[in-house]
Symmetry: C2
Subunit: 202 residues, 2 copies
């Protein structure tokens, strides 16, 4: 029988692209690295998957350590596995995308969380590892997902105005939407409860 030992020298991580929405802007939660490699650079939150841990659970764990949130929207994006992507050895990473309500987010005591900060997605151009590529793939997947499923709400507080929702969609899709057509479509989907309240929030 063949000996497979030489294959069992790799590791894998999960990296979590955590999207939020605030001030009319699509944001992503990044960690400022305090150690090598890429010390001082911003990176996606992620960690090695433990030997006895399912992939999905690893993604959930990373998210919870950082934000304290559970039951958050999460989907797998893609796996990145270039040979030289990690200086410690052969490490592939499974990217996850999650959507959180920034309003519910509060900094966690875990040490990693102290270095976390929300960044506008549009403004990023230099991240640790291949994280810019991962972010970009995840953003594209978000665009696709948002067209086919009503997941946008995950990014807003539980009460919101249609205008806020529209701004969110515009931020994700990177395009302007017609106000009347947008409202017509959303309301025809029968997903929302009309609170009969009005608001002039900025």
């Amino acid at each position: 029988m063949t000996n497979f030992d030489s294959f069992f020298k790799s590791a894998f991580t999960v990296d979590n692209v955590i999207f939020g929405f605030d001030e009319g802007d699509l944001k992503v939660l990044l960690i400022k690295r305090g150690e090598e490699p890429y010390s001082g650079k911003w990176a996606l939150p992620g960690y090695f998957v433990y030997p006895n841990e399912d992939l999905n659970n690893a993604a959930i764990r990373v998210l919870e350590e950082l934000t304290g949130m559970r039951n958050v929207y999460l989907e797998q994006v893609q796996t990145f596995g270039k040979v030289d992507r990690h200086p410690f050895g052969r490490v592939i990473t499974i990217a996850y995308l999650s959507l959180v309500k920034i309003s519910k987010y509060s900094i966690q005591p875990a040490s990693i969380a102290l270095k976390a900060k929300w960044h506008s997605v549009a403004s990023l151009n230099d991240l640790a590892f291949d994280h810019l590529e991962i972010l970009s793939a995840s953003f594209n997947q978000l665009k696709r997902s948002v067209r086919s499923r009503p997941i946008g709400f995950e990014l807003l507080p539980s009460m919101f105005t249609l205008t806020q929702l529209q701004h969110l969609y515009e931020a994700i899709l990177e395009t302007e939407l017609d106000k009347r057509n947008f409202r017509k479509k959303i309301l025809s989907m029968d997903l929302l409860i009309d609170l009969n309240q009005t608001s002039n929030q900025p």
Copy 2:
């Protein structure tokens, strides 16, 4: 500095869901396993990723060893990583989906290929490992992909009739399509060259 050695004891494989189309039926190429675990069961073709090999290249390699084909349509599907999915240890697998023209396929001399056989996708209900789940996820992704991009051609010989193409789409989407509407839509896409030939192939 933390010691990460304990994480570098895992392995990963690629598994390739190779679709073909023949006799009006959507097929998938499987290998009959000749060794443990799951000896005697049918499995998706796959193998460990070599330490110096990019993920995509591993998928290409597996496909070429088996079919002799290069430049074949290939896309990553998803990564499967339950803790206990492989009896040798912690092995996660990255699933790829590929589309080949069965007419161009011929059995390769590689030993693995001798045990390969095309199976109707619809007829499968028991595969090695978690391969049934992988197949099912890949089939779903194929359904989605085929709606948004004209990749159906990849499964047919370079000359084909519109009827054949329709049968292919019906097999993938698992639904009947209206002949006139189908032709109207395909022809309006301007993707095909009309050979002005007619054929009464079965």
